[in-house]
């Protein structure tokens, strides 16, 4: 009987998955676009945020649905779902190919997916005529072209990695943190967090290990004030990229030692709590993505609310250390098996319109790869403190912040090429704007972190596991030893007791229990 129940149950269980798709395809009137994106990575205000009158957040998904129907006459519904890690997204696509029309992985995952032939190329028309073709930043577009991703991926957000820090921590903190190695000082480590993420922390470790070699390289190539148009930029950047992507055994070993040494005094690792911990002052240095850095600095600043009440705060800075940085980006790709590539392209085109890029930047805080007048004007609105020749409140002249490398050639006529310069005070130049848009010099010494192959991945993960799992404090061994000793003692005493209290029955008797 038992067996029959089990087989019935199993049979039912097998039938269940077959029944599900039938229920799914009942009504198919409107078009569907299935988008798979990072959590909190598009401007879609919740009701509380969008409900109030003064809210300037735009619901881009609803907006797209309206516009698409108006333009094509076809109603469309965006099925929007989110993921937490690239690997989750990748597995989902592997298990269920064709489940999404548009996904937004990070750089290395895009490389992996292209290498594994998992993505559909964008149409020729999209690549030449879309808003992305018109307004995409020339720097980012070139980057994609050089690396051979241009056909398959459209960049969405991008940025660097660096330290967010409280400038009042010490007199020399800015100077100390102008090297990645600054964090290794005990006084800084004890008030700092780094990312609980293997790739980001590996990067940090490698930058520390090869810091001298990187600095020598800069001297060799004259990297101070380097422009992207300089002739030795390509060669220099290739060298930096090579160093930062080393994964040989010795590098991994040294990186492990470096990270373990750092961990000894480190306040901790973080996934998402670093921003809040910075704002409340629990920590004073955070190894962060530039987008998170902007968010943190915004949140920590003193401000006056709409009722005129002043809220105290701190001005935090962001710094990309001298040696190098990591250029990262997330981009849209259409996975193989996508059923509505037309709508997917329309969606990316929609998001690439500068006005919508601004809406996204407003909401998410990350930097869009889209340039154009609307974006630049918004940046001027956010950051500019005056015109050329003006002075700040202390009487010091404003400094030019040159964004031509990013915006050139994307204006509809409001700005001429070479005019994309924002004048800010020297203090402000170390804050949000440098996290939002790194200077050309920083870009020149920033490397893209490649996708590791499976064996390398395993080795790096193993290294990270050791960093996270070691060292074991001595008292832990003592506890284990004590427990083991107690266990043995109890066991022995029982054996002894058992012998004593249960003598063998005499001949001719049986023991009755």
């Amino acid at each position: 009987m038992k067996r029959r129940i089990l087989t019935t149950a199993l049979a039912c269980a097998m039938l269940l998955p077959c029944a599900l798709p039938l229920a799914g395809c009942a009504a198919e009137k409107e078009e569907v676009l299935r988008v798979y994106n990072w959590e909190d990575y598009i401007s879609t205000p919740s009701e509380s945020e969008g409900g109030s009158e003064e809210s300037d957040y735009v619901d881009l998904i609803a907006e797209f649905e309206r516009e698409y129907e108006a333009q094509t006459g076809k109603p469309i519904r965006v099925e929007y779902s989110t993921f937490g890690t690239n690997e989750n997204m990748y597995n989902e696509l592997k298990i269920n190919p064709g489940a999404y029309d548009l996904v937004c992985p990070s750089d290395y995952m895009i490389m992996k997916m292209i290498a594994e032939d998992m993505v559909e190329p964008f149409s020729e028309q999209f690549l030449t005529e879309s808003n992305y073709a018109k307004y995409g930043s020339p720097y980012i577009r070139d980057l994609f072209k050089e690396n051979g991703w241009a056909q398959y991926a459209v960049p969405y957000m991008w940025g660097t990695m660096g330290y967010v820090y409280n400038p009042e921590l010490s007199e020399t903190v800015e100077e100390d943190l102008s090297s990645w190695a600054g964090l290794w000082a005990e006084e800084y480590a004890s008030v700092a967090t780094i990312k609980d993420s293997v790739r980001d922390s590996y990067f940090l470790g490698v930058a520390y290990v090869y810091r001298e070699e990187l600095m020598q390289l800069q001297e060799e190539y004259g990297a101070a004030g380097m422009k992207l148009a300089d002739e030795n930029y390509a060669a220099f950047n290739a060298k930096v990229t090579e160093i930062m992507n080393r994964t040989d055994e010795a590098t991994i070993e040294q990186t492990k030692d470096a990270l373990l040494a750092l961990k000894e005094h480190l306040y901790g690792f973080e996934v998402d709590s670093g921003k809040q911990d910075m704002v409340v002052g629990r920590i004073s240095i955070n190894f962060a993505w530039s987008g998170d850095a902007v968010y943190t600095m915004d949140d920590a600043e003193p401000y006056t609310d709409e009722n005129g009440v002043y809220h105290d705060g701190i001005y935090l800075n962001y710094i990309v250390p001298q040696e190098c940085s990591n250029i990262w980006f997330d981009g849209w790709v259409m996975p193989k098996g996508a059923q509505n590539t037309e709508a997917a392209e329309a969606f990316v085109d929609f998001l690439s319109r500068p006005e919508n890029a601004v809406a996204n930047m407003n909401y998410i805080g990350y930097t869009s790869s889209i340039a154009g007048d609307a974006v630049f004007d918004e940046m001027v609105d956010w950051y500019a403190e005056g015109e050329e020749g003006d002075t700040d409140e202390n009487g010091a002249p404003l400094v030019p912040y040159d964004l031509n490398y990013f915006f050139d050639g994307t204006s509809d006529g409001a700005h001429a090429d070479g005019d994309f310069i924002i004048y800010v005070s020297e203090e402000s130049a170390k804050r949000q704007i440098c996290a939002q848009y790194p200077t050309e010099e920083v870009i020149a010494r920033s490397a893209i972190m490649q996708h590791f192959d499976d064996d390398t991945n395993a080795a790096v993960n193993e290294m990270w596991e050791e960093v996270k799992g070691l060292p074991i404090p001595i008292w832990a061994y003592i506890v284990i030893a004590a427990i083991a000793a107690a266990g043995i003692a109890i066991g022995l005493s029982y054996m002894y007791k058992g012998k004593r209290s249960e003598p063998k029955p005499k001949k001719g008797y049986r023991r009755v229990s």
């Binding site: 039912c12 993960n461 074991i472 427990i483």
Partner: protein, 270 residues
């Protein structure tokens, strides 16, 4: 009126289904993943995950750390919970159920919220960021204490008063009565309390992550890492299996101890 009659067998079907779908099949899947690996897109049978676990410094350290944290947390829970349960169960208070409720009440609040609150509290008293191990253990104890109190209370409450009176009549002082009668008879409660605290303290990585600022890794975290970031379900499944076996063995050991204890001590008692 329609009379519906279910046989007992039919009444078992919902649970049978549940069992098959959410226990048996996932278990088989985990087993399958644990003993396979993917080579060039082909799944092949292998013991390498198993061997890898026991040759990797990182994994063995994590295992040791989880073990230590779990043992200490369980011991502290027992030390705190036993007196509480004992006093509650023995007391003549009319409203002792209300009192018991006070211990259970925190469980009604989502534990992530409680741990987040505890993080703030530990920060306030200056432990956060400096005492990672202590914080983790405090968190585990805080979180799992009710699971220790409840079974102890139920066993102690059911304890027949006349046993204790008999022991006292036969000349046992309070201490002897406790060590020879009360404690042995409460063993089932102790055992189930230990299993209910020990197992989750080996895996509840939300506590260790939040309160140690990710400085301490326990087995649950390792499993999570393999599934979500290292993208290696095979190793993740293997660690799950190993954890399962460890817990199973511990239960078997304590379970055997329980039966043994009941009989042997019962024999000693009378």
């Amino acid at each position: 009126m329609v009379r519906v009659h279910f046989s007992r067998r039919q009444l078992c079907i919902p649970y049978g289904l549940f069992l098959a779908l959410f226990v048996v099949i996932p278990m088989l899947l985990i087993l399958f993943y644990a003993f396979t690996e993917e080579i060039d897109g082909v799944l092949t049978f292998t013991f390498s995950n198993f061997l890898n676990f026991f040759t990797s410094t990182a994994k063995l350290s994590t295992l040791l750390m989880s073990f230590t944290v779990a043992i200490i947390s369980t011991a502290i829970c027992l030390a705190i919970a036993y007196p509480v349960a004992y006093i509650l169960a023995r007391s003549k208070l009319r409203r002792r159920n209300v009192l018991l409720m006070l211990f259970i009440l925190p469980m009604w609040i989502n534990f992530v919220l409680r741990i987040t609150a505890l993080r703030e509290l530990l920060d306030l008293i200056g432990l956060l960021g400096t005492q990672n191990y202590l914080n983790t253990i405090i968190g585990m104890v805080y979180d799992f204490l009710p699971f220790m109190i409840l079974p102890l209370y139920t066993t102690l409450e059911k304890l027949d008063e006349s046993y204790l009176e008999a022991a006292a009549d036969l000349g046992g002082n309070k201490f002897t009565v406790f060590t020879k009668v009360t404690f042995p008879l409460s063993m089932p409660g102790v055992i189930s309390g230990i299993t209910m605290v020990f197992m989750p303290s080996m895996t509840n990585y939300v506590v260790s992550d939040t309160l140690s600022n990710f400085n301490i890794t326990i087995l649950g975290k390792l499993i999570d890492q393999y599934f979500t970031t290292y993208d290696n379900w095979h190793m993740g499944s293997m660690i799950s299996i190993i954890l399962l076996v460890i817990i199973f063995v511990t239960m078997l050991a304590t379970g055997g101890f329980k039966d043994d204890g009941r009989e042997a001590r019962g024999a000693n008692l009378w």
